[in-house]
Symmetry: C2
Subunit: 339 residues, 2 copies
DNA sequence: ATAATTTGCTAAAACGATTTATTAATTAGT
DNA sequence: ACTAATTAATAAATCGTTTTAGCAAATTAT
């Protein structure tokens, strides 16, 4: 019952031409290779008739091109990454590429395992959110001249292509927005990971409060802390800093923890506190109060990533390293307006 | 500078043995094929030394196994699907499989294009949320004896493996919960797609209100309506049905639309109305009021899917069709409790 | 009429593995 | 001492493409 898959060989023998001829025709090299109009038509017609589709595996083996790219993020179930994934997917499929998505949980071991895995599979290119300690592995990819783009964060001293947003500018603006709306004691809740994106976000906040001579109130939560512990830390922080009238959460899971703590422990604060979060979520819009967010330009990020990738895939040699910095946008909602 | 990738041939010639011998050893058939202990050790040592990894493409071409499975959902950026994807990813990678995720937007054309695409790539198995009109395509996969599991919904008259939840039971319970909490006029907001999951959800609701002799108040929103139009429809519905004291949203994007409409147009209703939504989201917990949700057992669904898939991949012949129905869980939060 | 080109097509190698069939060298059996 | 069985290894076919190198026939040039 199993339907027969056709191969070039089948076509060739059915039409009494050579495999070479068929291959040339399929690959649009008929004219260039001087295959007669007559034969070309015959073959194309037959291909159409039996609905022949080349075996991609064989093609890949021969050409060394798998037509697969890797998109590695922290956690594909996270809203921000999932949105990116979807946009990348659409562009890639349109261009004839398939995408292997994977999550590294921002862990070096996972990142390295995954990269090793993909190498055996002759993946054509990598778009990666690197965990902090895989500079070596990234450098290897670089040395092997494999198409590679980092995004969201990067390594200062590694000449890689990357696409990031101007995190400092983003938090600077957002913090200023809070200041303009009369918030005086703005806390910045972030993690302790020393990656470029987080450092820039912190630095933007510091710049803003510094310029206005306000107090820096920073809470760094250990990256590996479990949700319960993170919440406990935030709760303590709120108790110990009663002067705080606004909170800037540097990443979305912290926002979630923070709001949860406030809702449980200090419900009256929810409408009083100024709140801004980094990375938007559709649901923030329908929160009560709706939550202001720094939104990354998802389409633009993905568009840039993919057009860079396609360029890299075309000609692998002597390409200049491209560093792209895009701008985030502050979505002002109720939570950051005067109360 | 490009690092040389090693092939079996390289190993063979470096050690003065045949390619066959090396292959046997790599595949653990040394004893079975009577390769001497001595040669085996030598080869293994060398493989380890140069860190040889077989070329998966070549392997796949020869064996017909790509070690790739497809996971097709409506939209990978949707929270529910993204969560599933992540869990599937973890299980698959652990078992040596890679996953091609893709989104069909519940459109037949996309689904069919994607499936056609993957066939050329010799994908080993498919886990699919089918759009409503691809019964034919699914049947073809079935006839070709390709490992296939549908989930979330299925075709009544097609003997496919599937994993779904008991939607009827879920909405029946959830509706009863509203009734027990004194809500009398419970609206059910759903879409007009005639797929098994949506029909069952509706039927569970109808059963519940029927048993208690309450009014059926059902709003079916065209699946293809744009968010703006969906909201307009919901708004009209609210205006025209002032008796409604609770709303059951049959799927998560409708919840979003609904809350948005309520927040904008009828803010006082938000705390008065009973609300339940289908499919949970971490953020619902920290909403004000927190939103009660019917939560599907994600881990269980994915675990079942993958163990079924691995079984299918092992021995392709004469397998019984498996139909698994799991139970959802009602997460009771503020929105469905008495006011 | 002969040499040089052009046209139309193809044989065969290659990609990197797996697997079947076979060979050569030992060892065991009688 | 001669056959049978076992051990150790390998040559070659295969998966389905792409691509290089080349051949024969037809055409053009001289």
């Amino acid at each position: 019952m199993k339907k027969q898959r056709h191969s070039i060989k089948d076509i060739a023998s059915a039409l009494n031409v050579s495999v070479t001829t068929v291959s040339f025709i399929i690959n649009g090299k008929a004219k260039e290779k001087r295959i007669s109009e007559k034969v070309t038509k015959k073959v194309l017609a037959y291909i159409d008739e039996i609905n022949y589709k080349p075996n991609q595996l064989a093609q890949s083996l021969r050409t060394g091109q798998s037509k697969i790219i890797v998109f590695m993020v922290e956690d594909i179930s996270n809203y921000f990454f999932a949105r990116l994934a979807r946009i990348i997917e659409d562009i890639a499929y349109e261009k004839g590429y398939k995408v292997l998505f994977c999550s590294n949980d921002n862990e070096d071991k996972k990142s390295e395992e995954l990269i090793a895995l993909f190498k055996d599979r002759q993946v054509d290119g990598y778009i990666i959110i690197p965990s902090s300690g895989i500079k070596g592995t990234i450098k290897n990819l670089l040395d092997e001249n494999i198409p590679l783009i980092l995004f969201d964060r990067y390594f200062e001293d590694l000449p890689t292509n990357y696409v990031v947003i101007d995190n400092e500018e983003a938090t600077l603006n957002a913090t200023n927005h809070l200041i303009e709306n009369k918030f005086k004691n703005i806390a910045f809740v972030t993690t302790d990971v020393e990656q470029t994106q987080m450092l820039s976000r912190l630095s933007g906040y510091k710049k803003a409060v510094g310029q206005k001579q306000l107090h820096e109130i920073v809470l760094k939560i250990p990256y590996n802390a479990k949700p319960v512990n993170r919440k406990a830390i935030i709760k303590d922080f709120i108790i110990n800093n009663p002067e705080v009238d606004a909170v800037f959460f540097a990443t979305n899971y912290l926002t979630q923890d923070g709001i949860s703590v406030i809702k449980e422990g200090f419900p009256s604060l929810l409408s009083k506190l100024g709140i801004i979060t980094f990375d938007d979520n559709t649901l923030y819009e329908i929160f009560t109060p709706s939550i202001s967010a720094v939104a990354q330009p998802l389409e633009e990020i993905c568009g840039t990533l993919m057009s860079m990738m396609l360029k890299l895939l075309k000609k692998k040699e002597d390409q200049k390293v491209e560093k792209v910095v895009l701008n985030a946008k502050l979505l002002v909602r109720e939570s950051s307006l005067p109360k």
